[in-house]
Each structure stands twice: as structure tokens, then as C-alpha cells.
Symmetry: C2
Subunit: 159 residues, 2 copies
DNA sequence: AGATATTGTTTTATATCATAACAATACTTA
DNA sequence: TAAGTATTGTTATGATATAAAACAATATCT
């Protein structure tokens, strides 16, 4: 029995002290750190961090979105997105364009160099992701993991 | 097909741009944040953060270990452990005792109040963990998830 | 005994993340 | 149309997490 609450025969519910290894949140955190470390090692050669990777990926996927839209999808506060985007722009990978329809907003695009960079990035990512899939045991296990994680993500607190 | 690399019929391997939702590391991170948020909400009433929870749990489980041992198990740098332990000590939940055998080290113990506190903590944790298990679909799915996460944790980079 | 290692600690640097305020622009509605 | 309100990108700032370097006290090794 791995459940944390059990009956102890006295009529009172015993509160079992959890074992850290069996705690969902703890193991999630440790696993995330391990996977991110592999990511960081993999991408150190092109000096790209996870947040930058995700932004370039979203821009490549759907060019023209504005900053707030990209930031929101990734759970990045728009205030913190500014420096991140500044970095990508200074490296010549992405650019802000004044939107015609809404002069407040910037629509985001990859530069030609950004397109090239993104290809190398995606190739690197493949090696990283394949390593993670191998560790899991194969694509079926990867799919299972993603499905379970989706369940955790599913119902955000209504509050 | 959710694989990132496929054949495109030209004889050259196409590098597919990953979809963020299918990236193991990304989904892991998002799920971890959601679970931690539930933890934070649950434990805000007793002002306890995840790191403090884990330290109290390990001390309760095995009293008398020294700081470095506890810190190492949790992946906390011993330098950063000091302030954390200071906090628990100031709250009267745990204490450092001079070790007889090694005057450099401190052996860590719960105070009587710490023991009481830990019971309330464990009860709160049960509600949190049960919520996570419910989201996953049940204890079987929880076990599956933990097993998959263990695989990711298994082979730390030899480097 | 002398060299070397470990323990807890302080200090410091960096990265991450959240909040508040602001100017420019857009939208709503009276 | 004018006035009030909301949104967008931005700056500034604070909180937290994390890592590294150095140090004194003590332990261990040779």
C-alpha cells in the first residue's frame, strides 16, 4: 500500500508521514530538473535557454502574433518577456514589427537568420527529446507520460 | 504520428518544428508548476514552503542526520540550507544539536512542537496529494506516473 | 605533526518571477 | 464626438531560488 492515509485499527485515522520518493510534486520537480539539465547541456553550444527556445518555436509556428499572446501561451509575464525578446532581437534571430492595425502592439517574426537558426535548434532538440524518450522506454511510454501530465494540467483551480 | 523526425519523401530527413504541447520537458515544467501551486495554496495557511516541508519530512523520518546529509538528499546546496534551517529553528519546529562524535556537524531533530506541527502538516499534505491523485484518475495512474518519472531520474549524466 | 578534507557559515552573483506604475494607443459609452 | 476605461509594451523594483567562493573549526590521512 502506497496510500498515505490508512486505518490503524483504533478507529482514528492515522496520518502517515509521506516518503519523499512517493510524493508526486517532489518527483515531478526532480524529473523536471533532470530533463532541463539535459536540455541545458544540449543547447549550451548554441547558447539557448528553454524560454528562448519556446519563444522561437511559437514564433516559427505562428508568425505575426503579438508579444502578449506569445508570453501568455508560455506563462511568461509580459514584463519579463521584454528582456527575453530584446535578447533574441539583438542576436538577429527575431524582430518586432509595428502592427498596422494596432499601433501599440508589436507583431513578432523570425529573421532569415532566425529561420536558419531554428532549423539547427530543431535538430538539436531532436537529439535531446530522443534521449528522454529512450530513458522512458519508448514512444508509447512518452505518450503515456504526456497524457498523465495533461491530466494534472487539466483543471486549473477555479478560485 | 507525434514523432518529431520524419521522412519527407525527398530522401532528406526533415526536421520538424516541435509542438510545445508535445515536448516532454515543457509539459513536465508546466505540470510541476500546477502541482506546486496547489501545494502552495494548501500550505499557505501554515506558512510552509515545499523545501521546508521536505526538510521537516526527512528529519521526522530519520532524526539525527547532519545538515549536509539532509541537504544532499534534497539537492539543496549546503550554503543555502543554512537560512532554511535558521527559519525552522526560529519557528521552534526543528533544532540543531552539537554532535558528540563530530564537533563540526549539527545533528538535526524535531522539537516537540515540531512533532505536533508535522502531524498537521502530514494531514494537509494528504488533502493535497489526494487531489493530485484524483486528477490523475486514481492510485494506479499515480503509480504509473511515478514509475515513468523514475525512469527519467534513473540515469544521471555520467559527465 | 603536518598536510588535506569536511562541515557549517557568510558573502556575493545570477536567474527567475511577480507587481506596480507609466505613456501611447485603442475601445466603450454617454 | 468627448470622456472614461482598458490594453500594450515598457521600466523599475522586490522577492525568491540557486550557485560559487572563501573561511574558521574540526576531523582525517600519511
Amino acid at each position: 500500500m502506497t496510500d498515505a492515509s490508512k486505518e490503524n485499527g483504533t478507529g482514528t485515522a492515522a496520518v502517515t508521514i509521506p516518503a519523499m520518493q512517493d510524493i508526486i510534486g517532489y518527483k515531478l520537480r526532480r524529473a523536471q530538473l533532470v530533463v532541463f539539465q539535459d536540455f541545458l547541456d544540449t543547447f549550451s553550444k548554441i547558447k539557448l535557454r528553454p524560454a528562448e527556445f519556446s519563444v522561437l518555436t511559437l514564433i516559427a509556428q505562428t508568425p505575426g502574433q503579438k508579444q502578449t499572446e506569445i508570453a501568455e501561451q508560455l506563462g511568461i509575464k509580459r514584463a519579463n518577456f521584454v528582456a527575453l525578446m530584446d535578447g533574441l532581437e539583438k542576436r538577429g534571430l527575431a524582430e518586432r514589427r509595428k502592427a498596422e492595425t494596432d499601433k501599440r502592439s508589436h507583431s513578432l517574426h523570425l529573421t532569415p537568420e532566425g529561420v536558419e537558426f531554428t532549423k539547427k535548434m530543431a535538430a538539436l532538440w531532436n537529439t535531446h527529446e530522443q534521449r528522454m524518450i529512450d530513458r522512458l522506454g519508448g514512444p508509447a511510454e512518452r505518450d503515456t507520460l504526456l497524457a498523465l501530465l495533461d491530466r494534472l494540467l487539466g483543471a486549473k483551480p477555479t478560485k
